[in-house]
């Protein structure tokens, strides 16, 4: 029984637990886990899709660059929600522990727990990449705010009619 087969057999179970663990960081996690329609439940569905993709990449030893699209799918959302940076990325790490627990509970595959070094190293790389992506999206958010201010929308309230720019007191010549 090799590791690849272990991942294949337990993939669904691991991913499901990972998704549930990640979504448990929301108060209304029940709905986010249950509703599968991407458009009726963008947070839950995007996180599920992304973790499914990411797990495949992590378990097959893909290049870390390939982690970026699924990580963006998750972190773009979590970086505008009320999480601290560590809270935003913490659930990614959870897959290491979930995988160990599931393998350890499987009598035939217990020994695979000792072969998880590469997988766990890949998870570490994904978590590091997630910090970069978190910062990227935070910077994008600030840029959007700056763009809005520059575009003139702020004139709606934050500026005055040009006539108000004239001095309030009459200048005596």
């Amino acid at each position: 029984m090799d590791l690849a087969e272990g991942f294949r057999n337990h993939r669904e179970k691991i991913v499901n637990k990972w998704v549930e663990y990640t979504l448990s960081t929301y108060v209304s996690s029940g709905f986010f886990v249950r509703e599968r329609d991407t458009f009726a439940n963008p947070v839950g569905a995007n996180i599920r899709q992304a973790l499914e993709k990411l797990f495949l990449l992590l378990s097959k030893g893909a290049d870390a660059k390939e982690f970026v699209p699924p990580l963006e799918q998750i972190i773009s959302i979590r970086s505008v929600q009320e999480f601290t940076p560590s809270q935003a990325v913490a659930p990614l790490n959870g897959v290491k522990h979930i995988t160990r627990e599931i393998f350890a509970a499987d009598k035939e595959r217990k020994q695979l727990v000792n072969e998880l070094y590469d997988f766990e190293f890949a998870v570490d790389l994904a978590v590091l990449a997630a910090f970069d992506i978190y910062m990227h999206y935070r910077e994008r958010l600030y840029q959007v705010r700056i763009n809005e201010i520059k575009s003139g929308s702020h004139i709606l309230t934050d500026s005055r009619c040009p006539s108000n720019l004239l001095p309030e007191k009459k200048i005596i010549l």
Binding site: S29, T38, P42, Q81, S86, G94, L141, Q143, E148, S153
Partner: protein, 542 residues
């Protein structure tokens, strides 16, 4: 070292209790206080703006002061509780709908997962049923027998400062988009519950600047920006110059012209801010193409009615201004531009507030002879209805290839879709002028998702909140962007044009936002035109 358990992982990262611990709430929802911190609330209204509004005829904005949501003490008037309860009593007597909405909810939960704020935050108090419950619990406590006797067991609670703070937080995490009401089997309009919450808060001087400053500007000069007549006129004339340099045809415009057949009113954002400017250039081009006898007004220079986001008296006053101007100028009827909540006010509230507008005539298109029976009472026709009718009668000539740089999708603006049923006219226009695709079914038409920044929440200090409440909309746009290479999000609302631009810049860079009239003008073939090759339509820099 032992392998840390999963539970310890979240604890090791997160200090203290928080959402990321995934802990099951052990307290009743009523016991969770609203916590204000930078980024999760819009700035309070400036004291002088509130005082100014309170001094104006027909308006009531008492208790102006400097205060901050982050302070423990909001400097409420000493008798704040009496003011709120008296205000609620008056409104329950005045608005039968409010009384019904308070009584008839059975908490079936059909609305719970339909709100974009809930979907983006996962905060249970953003479920429409719960948002209404914030008010309903106080209603039960003071206005129902069961609540008076059973108290908390009957879902009742006393009005306290903490409750008031909760009202402020969640009535400004609702854009009154009314998506939830589509799914309510009883037809409860939760937006009207939010409206009442905001009205009550204004009684004790609690409101936000992004709403009250535009309201005060509109009351003073007629538009959100506080533009004075000469500035408004100059801006429109700049746009006339632009249309001329792009097409070789100079649109005729007039201002405050008595005896014109039609008064045209649009959001002032269309005449001063990108990308609305291009939509306004579209109106000018269209009206020139058909030779419409119309005028702009520098007094009714705003379609938007932020009064809708404050209280019914202000909404009534700002709406009345448009009709007063129509009467003064002696026009036959009004054509309204691509605005959102202006149309909600006109279709849902105008008739009982200021209507019927009997001094105007039932709108008839001077070009096609079509009678707009749907506007028989309000005397106000939507530009898309008017345009679709022109196309239906073959009065406009298009070269669709002029929009070949665009692959569009259509965002149903909440107010026009759900509050006036304008669903097919914009689509009919798009069919004739541009290559476009629909977003998924449960995100369009009556089920459209809000931009996330309506009702005066389009301010930059709550950008994160706007991005998460706009996620359901952006997520559907992403789908058509990835699948069909959509690069333009068309809509018929000025707030949408401003806020969806930011939403796209965050979630879907490469997707721009435009009004329908901009795309229309791109494709419109004008008599006597001398048009350069405009590879970006009306946005081309010459």
């Amino acid at each position: 070292m032992a392998v840390p358990k999963l539970e310890q992982l979240s604890k090791s990262v997160v200090q203290g209790p928080s959402l990321a611990t995934g802990a099951i709430p052990t307290m009743d929802w009523m016991e969770y206080p609203a916590v204000f911190k930078s980024g999760n609330y819009a700035y309070p209204a400036k004291s002088e703006k509130v005082a100014y509004l309170d001094s104006q005829s027909g308006l009531h904005f008492p208790n102006s002061r400097e205060w901050s949501p982050e302070d423990d003490d909001w400097k409420l008037p000493a008798d704040w509780k009496e003011i709120i309860l008296k205000g609620l009593k008056e409104r329950l007597e005045k608005f039968r709908s409010l009384k019904i909405f308070m009584d008839c909810c059975v908490r079936c939960g059909a609305c719970a997962d339909k709100c974009h704020f809930f979907l983006g935050t996962g905060d249970p108090k953003n479920m429409p049923v719960m948002r209404a419950e914030l008010l309903r619990s106080v209603y039960r406590n003071d206005f129902t027998l069961a609540g008076k006797i059973l108290g908390k067991m009957a879902g009742a609670r006393e009005m306290t400062v903490a409750v008031l703070k909760e009202w402020f937080m969640y009535s400004y995490q609702c854009t009154e988009c009314r998506r939830c009401s589509v799914f309510c089997p009883y037809g409860i309009d939760t937006a009207e519950v939010t409206m009442m919450l905001r009205e009550l808060l204004h009684l004790v001087g609690v409101g936000i600047n992004w709403v009250l400053e535009p309201v005060s500007n509109s009351n003073r000069t007629g538009n959100h920006m506080g533009l004075q007549p000469h500035t408004f006129k100059d801006n429109v004339e700049f746009l006339v110059d632009d249309v001329e340099s792009l097409t070789g045809v100079r649109p005729n415009v007039s201002f405050n012209r008595k005896g014109a057949e039609v008064l045209f009113i649009t959001p002032s954002a269309d005449v001063f801010a990108e990308p609305g400017l291009y939509t306004a250039m579209g109106y000018l081009t269209l009206f020139e193409a058909i030779g419409l006898d119309y005028t702009w007004s520098t007094y009714a220079s705003e379609g938007g009615n932020f009064g809708l986001f404050t209280n019914n008296e202000t909404m009534k006053k700002l709406n009345a201004k448009m009709y007063a101007e129509a009467k003064r100028l002696g026009v036959k009827y009004i054509i309204g531009g691509e605005c959102g909540h202006m149309w909600r006010v006109v279709h849902q509230y105008m008739d009982t507030m200021n209507g019927p507008a009997d001094f105007l005539e039932k709108p008839v298109s001077p070009i096609t002879g079509t009678v707009f029976e749907n506007a028989a009472s309000t005397k106000m026709v939507h530009i898309s209805e008017f345009t679709a009718d022109l196309i239906k009668h073959g009065k406009l000539k298009f070269d669709k290839s002029r929009n070949s740089h665009v692959k569009a999708t259509y965002h149903d603006s909440c107010n026009t879709a759900r509050a006036m049923g304008l669903l097919d006219e914009p689509r009919y226009i798009l069919d004739h002028i541009v290559d476009w695709v629909e977003m998924p079914e449960n995100t369009i038409r009556e089920q459209t998702f809000c931009c996330g920044s309506g009702t005066g929440l389009n301010t930059d200090e709550i950008m994160e909140l706007r991005m998460r409440s706009g996620l359901p909309r952006a997520n559907a746009v992403k789908y058509v962007h990835d699948k069909h290479d959509v690069n333009m999000l068309a809509c018929v609302c000025a707030i949408d044009r401003a806020t969806l631009t930011s939403l796209m810049d965050y979630w879907n860079p490469g997707v721009r936002v435009c009004g329908i009239s901009e795309l229309l003008a791109n494709a419109l073939v004008l008599e006597g035109e001398n048009r350069a090759d405009l590879d970006d339509g009306f946005r081309t820099m010459l």
